[in-house]
Amino acid sequence: MKAVGARLPRYDGIEHVTGRTTYVDDVRVPGMLWVKALRSPVHSAAMSGLDTTKAEAMPGVHAVVTHADVPLLEYGHLSALGIPADEPLLAKDEVRYKGQPIALVAAEDEETALAAVDAITVDFEERTPLLDVRRAFDDDAPTVHQWGNWYTHFEGEMDRRQIRKGSIDDAFEQADVIVQGVYRPAAIEHVPLETQVALVVPEANGRLTIYSCTQALYFSMGVVAAHLQVPLNKLKVVGGTVGGGFGGKVDTATETMCALLAQKSGRPVKWRWTREEEFLCSSTRAPWHMEIADAVTKDGWILGRKMLTLHDSGAYARFSPYGLTKHSFHHTGAYTIPNLSFDGFVVFTNRVPTTAMRGFGVTSVSFATETHMSRIADVLGLDPYEVRLKNANRVGDTSPNRIVYTDPSTVSVVKALAGGMDVELATEYAAMTRDPREGDLLPAHLVGQLGNPEDH
């Protein structure tokens, strides 16, 4: 029997539905300590006088760690992609978001750990937070980040991700109508049923066994090894089964700190976030601010797109420059638009750092460009299916990066959707294929821009 294409039962389905899957929090080992965190109570503050001596002296407390215990405090998770390090594992002399971890306690039980956290003293000199990405560029805006209020390291030194193709000025000139709109999808939580959790066991041979809920075993191992400055053979990451991630468990949120506490205490340590911590302190999907102005003809051809994107990164860069680059590469969506002018900024604010989430970088731009497409159809009084088919990616068209599309399916999926909705398309649209445009439906004055694949 064929295996590929078959509706075979899920490999681990019975374990999941009978509750027999072992997740990280199901693993209990003798002598295990429990972890709680001191987190910033404010959105932005200078910090001084961190004192953990009382906490360390409490009965049942086995280890306390702060920034001073981390061999490499700042490690750039995407340094391989040219994104420099900017975020300390534990706050050192300032806090930039409410919930930022400052110190961690490992104790005999969670109650003792919480009491010890309360015994840590620190002084905060509160500052006005920056929260609105639209105000980040103003002269009177508070400064959030060591690089300023927006990321300045695209291709080494660019302060924005930029796309330029064709001539946006000519497109605006030629347009019958210019349609402008603003799109702002919200931050949302990943809402995994399994909150962030790790268990680290110091082995007799000097290795650390890290039970992890990571979505990326080797990526997280690399993060821990970098902060601890140890070779990979000192670590064994155990995982591979995740109780919901959706992007949030690419963060390596707990593993490194548990490893530090395990090294310092010589005991196995587990840190499991409460639901409240998961909602309020874990990273979120980013909120985005997008403005679009499309140059269109009255019969629905999109000649050009000007776009401004402000990606609310929160207090640190994390994966946001990667996400914005991906966003920019896909800002024409399922369509071919010959003239482009895109500017995107990763903007820092005093909120929880944002991170990867299902559709990273593109969920936002799909919302903006597709809602805009519906608006264009409405403004021009055209059929929303036909406007989409007219501008669809076709074989031989090029992407914003000048990559030739070889097997686009815009035409197939839109036609299939019309079928599924019992919408009858006009004959010329019903007959459309993804094959290279040969002038079909294309007005003569656009052939030079859109119509001839050899020209791209």
Partner: protein
């Protein structure tokens, strides 16, 4: 005071694998003395079904039953590198690595079977756990017997490794965005129609039906891909009308710290979901598959926003489309500003209105 129905659509695309590539996955496979197959890969299964999908690819490629395959992704001592389960890459990239490893295992099985049958390995094939001579299927040897011969007669371990890596498209022109290499693998496409019911008294938007079309390349397991599409639809519905970490964004006040104060979709929110799968094979995924895990929540929000407009004539472009936002939009009855040939929606949200000159969005009137 009435309920109004509306329809809206969206069409989207999404790349497979990390943006700009450069993200390896590796796998190795060994065969037990009775022909059962152990796969070691480093791909976390986050509910996306990668344990199942990769096991199916191995079974198909070697030619043995699915239930002969054991899949181990449990730790970094025994499993090789997988960049991770994100970027819609677990089937597409990591699945290709196990396919390549399985091809090598298949080759080793044929080599040893060739010795046992005294037939050139190129004249043999593996079907349902048996090695058969092509065109003369009565000449055959069971894969368990081949594995036993390898172990006890020839003193060999049947094994194979595979790796998949597309080169990192490292050069992006900072001015134009032009790239030196394709910055992604196969692109997947989808379209979605939303039907909504909007109550103009309460502002509540109820999504009643989602019709979804996905080009998946090839459905390695149709049940699992339907699960991805339906699960994604519910997450997209949450994005569209329910979820928000900062209910009064950009304010950080009123954050919800528990399920009771953060509205994730529940069963009562589920619409009718109709799924249409199209298979336009990719050239470089395993068996022509593409990755659609992530894009599954991208098409619903714009389709829903368009359907709300169709129902009650207001555009709500700050997600989620809550009752409060619908009622405020109905009260405001805001029309776009027209100047010359320019039609400007949402001027009140623009940097041109809110920023104090630090940043502008300039468009010729």
């Amino acid at each position: 005071m009435a309920k109004h129905t509306g329809r809206g659509i969206a069409a989207i695309e999404y790349p497979t694998g990390m943006n700009q590539n450069g993200d390896p996955s590796q796998a190795w496979i060994k065969v037990k003395p009775d022909g059962r197959v152990d796969v070691f890969a480093g791909t976390s299964d986050i509910g996306n079904g990668s344990k199942t999908i990769q096991s199916q690819i191995v079974a198909e490629t070697i030619g043995v039953p699915y239930d002969w395959v054991t899949y181990d992704n449990s730790n970094t001592d025994s499993s090789p590198v997988c960049t991770g389960t994100f970027a819609s890459r677990a089937t597409f990239v990591a699945g290709k690595a196990v396919e390549k490893a399985a091809e090598r295992v298949r080759g080793r099985i044929l080599d040893i079977a060739g010795k046992e049958l005294e037939i050139d390995p190129s004249d043999l094939e593996i079907v349902d756990g048996e090695v058969l001579a092509k065109g003369a299927p009565q000449k055959k040897i069971a894969v368990p017997d081949v594995a036993a011969a390898a172990t006890w007669t020839y003193g060999e371990l049947i094994t194979g490794t595979g790796a998949q890596l597309k080169p990192f498209a490292s050069i992006v022109d900072p001015e134009t965005g032009e790239v030196d290499l394709p910055p992604h693998s196969a692109i997947s496409y989808a379209a979605c129609a939303a039907e909504v019911e909007v109550d103009d008294e309460t502002g509540v938007v109820r999504v009643t039906r989602l019709v979804q079309v996905y080009d998946v390349g090839l459905a390695i397991n149709p049940t699992l891909v339907e699960g991805q599409i339906e699960g994604g639809a519910v997450q997209g519905l949450g994005l569209g009308v329910l979820e928000n970490c900062y209910p009064y964004y950009p304010s950080v006040d009123h954050r919800g710290g528990e399920f009771g104060s953060y509205l994730a979709p529940g069963f009562e929110d589920l619409p009718q979901i109709d799924t249409i799968i199209i298979e336009n094979p990719s050239s470089d995924g395993p068996y022509g598959a593409k990755g659609i895990g992530e894009m599954a929540n991208n098409a619903q929000p714009p389709a829903i926003a368009s359907a709300v407009y169709d129902a009650v004539g207001v555009w709500v472009t700050e997600l989620p489309i809550t009752p409060e936002k619908v009622l405020r939009a109905l009260d405001a009855k805001r029309a776009p500003e027209r100047a010359g040939k320019t039609v400007v929606f949402d001027a009140e949200l623009s940097v041109n209105t809110v920023a104090q000159g630090g940043i502008t969005f300039d468009v010729p009137a």
